[in-house]
């Protein structure tokens, strides 16, 4: 019985993660402005990958492999905001349509 519950939990988490990934995919392709796209993509990085990693951890059980999955997620949590920050800075500095799109006043 625990195996069945585990499998159901695994499937649910995987489906949830894939749903988040799908939303990120649609957002990246449908939004027009780069900061909006960044916002959509970060959903996939945090929630999507988090749910998928959690699903894999549930499937693998509690051992060293689980720790590796969590390490993958921690690495992603560390690097994804950095790249997002860089992209945002670059958009802020170079995109001339930012005052129209994002309502930021640039003198």
């Amino acid at each position: 019985m625990p195996e069945v519950i585990r499998f159901i939990l695994f499937c649910a988490l995987l489906a949830l993660g894939l749903g988040f990934m799908l939303s990120a995919l649609i957002g990246v392709n449908r939004f027009g402005f780069s900061l909006n796209r960044l916002h959509a993509a970060s959903v996939g990085d945090t929630m999507g990958l988090g749910c998928i990693v959690l699903a894999c951890a549930v499937k693998a059980g509690l051992d060293a492999v689980t720790l590796k999955f969590l390490l993958v997620y921690a690495f992603m949590l560390l690097t994804s905001p950095m790249s997002g920050h860089l992209i945002g800075l670059l958009v802020y500095r170079t995109d001339r349509s930012i005052s129209r799109e994002a309502g930021i006043w640039k003198p």
């Binding site: 690495f75 560390l78 690097t79 905001p81 950095m82 920050h85 860089l86 800075l89 670059l90 802020y92 500095r93 170079t94 001339r96 640039k106 003198p107």
Partner: protein, 306 residues
């Protein structure tokens, strides 16, 4: 200047400049057909006139290089046509060579990772050439991209016209992240190299990881801190030493192996770090060369110098 918060403030203040329009006007002025001759001058100085070679020798160089390339292409194509056809009946799917490696690899070399003795011991001559090819590539890029020693203002121009104008300098968030990530990446690279003879990995992959870590360090902290420990002198000395030692070790290996002399590098107990004879040392040398060369190629293409 050193305070990160101040530099962040400075960066944001700089960023609020109407940069796009500024750049556009600069481009307008520097267009060749613009009549502002004095304003177009700095742009032109980027491509300074060099003394030209005589025409005949120049044409000879061009013709001989084309001929050499065509000859190389012809040789390579001829060799490819001689390969066994893909998926053909007479193609050896698993030849006796790989069976030999699987059977005798552990016994011969004492390395748990079967790839390491294949590339470093059985086919060591090939890998020796590969490492030298990497070094030669870096040297060729250096020859092409480094400014002449007499050209002192080249680096200044590279900064002035370079593409790192738009990049953040002394960025607080990047530096905080890099403080965590860069040591981890470098440590992981060292782990891959040192464990090359017992687990998947080895000199090339570990060296690539270390090189990526060094490139990351350069990108985050800028040229200043990186050039404190990575100069041209360091690159030359360390990679030449590593390549020389590598060649020396391989020579010893070939001589002892060919003459049936007992090598001082014993196979050891498989699974420990000091097993696999000289594989550990060869991995370290290859990793050093690969890491330094990756860093050198990046920094040469990026700013033309160390």
């Amino acid at each position: 200047m050193k305070n990160p918060i101040n530099s962040l403030k400075r960066f944001i203040e700089q960023g609020s400049d109407p940069l796009g329009e500024e750049m556009l006007s600069e481009l307008e002025l520097n267009r060749p057909d613009a009549d502002g001759e004095a304003l177009a001058a700095p742009r032109r100085s980027l491509f300074s006139e060099k003394p030209r070679r005589p025409r005949l020798i120049h044409a000879l160089y061009a013709a001989s290089s084309v001929a050499l390339c065509l000859a190389l292409i012809g040789i390579l194509l001829y060799t490819v046509s001689g390969l066994p056809s893909f998926g053909g009946a007479d193609t050896l799917a698993d030849s006796e060579v790989s069976a030999f490696y699987i059977e005798n690899g552990l016994k011969d070399t004492g390395a748990g990772n079967i790839i390491a003795p294949i590339i470093l011991s059985y086919r060591g001559f090939d890998t020796l050439g590969e490492s030298h090819v990497l070094f030669i590539a870096a040297v060729a890029v250096m020859l092409l991209l480094r400014p002449a020693p007499s050209d002192k203002s080249a680096l200044l121009r590279a900064y002035e016209y370079g593409d790192d104008k738009e990049e953040p300098h002394d960025d607080l968030i990047l530096m905080a992240g890099g403080r965590v990530i860069v040591p981890l990446i470098l440590m992981f690279g060292v782990y891959i190299i040192l464990n090359g003879n017992i687990s998947p990995g080895g000199g090339f992959s570990g060296g690539a990881v270390i090189g990526a870590g060094l490139i990351m360090y350069l990108s985050i902290y800028g040229y200043g801190p990186a050039s404190r420990f990575m100069t041209l002198r360091v690159y030359r000395a360390v990679s030449a030493c590593a390549l020389g030692l590598y060649s020396l070790f391989k020579t010893y290996h070939f001589v002892t192996g060919f003459n049936g002399i007992e090598s001082v590098f014993s196979a050891g107990i498989p699974g420990t770090i000091f097993s696999g004879g000289m594989l550990l040392y060869l991995n370290i040398f290859v990793g050093t060369v690969v890491a330094l060369t990756m860093y050198a190629l990046f920094t040469l293409f990026r700013k033309g110098d160390f």
